[in-house]
Symmetry: C2
Subunit: 132 residues, 2 copies
Amino acid sequence: METQTAEHPARSAKACAARLNAIHDAIYAIGGKWKLKIIIVLREEGSKRFNELQRLVTGISARVLSNELRELELNGFVIRKVYDGRPVVVEYELTDYSDTLGGVLHALDAWGTMHREKIRSEMQAAANSETK
Amino acid sequence: METQTAEHPARSAKACAARLNAIHDAIYAIGGKWKLKIIIVLREEGSKRFNELQRLVTGISARVLSNELRELELNGFVIRKVYDGRPVVVEYELTDYSDTLGGVLHALDAWGTMHREKIRSEMQAAANSETK
DNA sequence: GTTAGCAGTATACAATAGGTTAGTAGTAAC
DNA sequence: GTTACTACTAACCTATTGTATACTGCTAAC
């Protein structure tokens, strides 16, 4: 049916499926509106308590922050450290495993920056052609 | 614009915000359940017509495929080529610009594969401790 | 004694994403 | 004449996601 692309069509079908699954997993682990924001804040600012995080991640509600932290913990990106005290203090800390995201973050950053610039220059071009 | 990561905390605030925006844009351009799947299919199989795509991207509905293709076109990843004929034929083709996603796809693939393996070995460890 | 901060949870609702079903207009094969 | 193919779109429904507001139980400050 298809023979194109590369060398071994039979093998490429399996490889393609595996790649699709891997990319799917990655998108689901770090996708959504908040997960990467939380991770980046923790990277920049270090470990934080719940209310501190809610202040730093602007716009997030307590309920959503709570859910996202639970998922991040399940995926092994953060650990929840409880310090018993008069007011119980809970700190969220990035794990070493979260460092494995470095490559993904860098690629997304580089591409997003480039894309942003492209959109900006396109909008400028459109504005120029209007006022010509 | 920014030199390096650490060293300068004052400057890192701006860099952090820029990075956040860039990553946000990237996630929104390629995030969701279908966009990358469609792109990968077009990469592997070459240009395809609407119904062909719906068959190749298993599980997607016509409505959603239509929406996703419109967004992919807006972001400059695909072009829609109309061939007037007895039944009008429309082909969706990847643009050169879609190649800029190469780095992101590779990073997601590598990380997703690694993460998958980690989850798998964790599940195996859990199964072993049950039947110990 | 009222207020504020700690770390959330409960409840209700709104918005968005995605899915299901059916239907458009035209052609061509059975 | 019925079916199937072309590329979609409209209407409707559900499920996930996000928001808003209030509340818990505890401590400490004012």
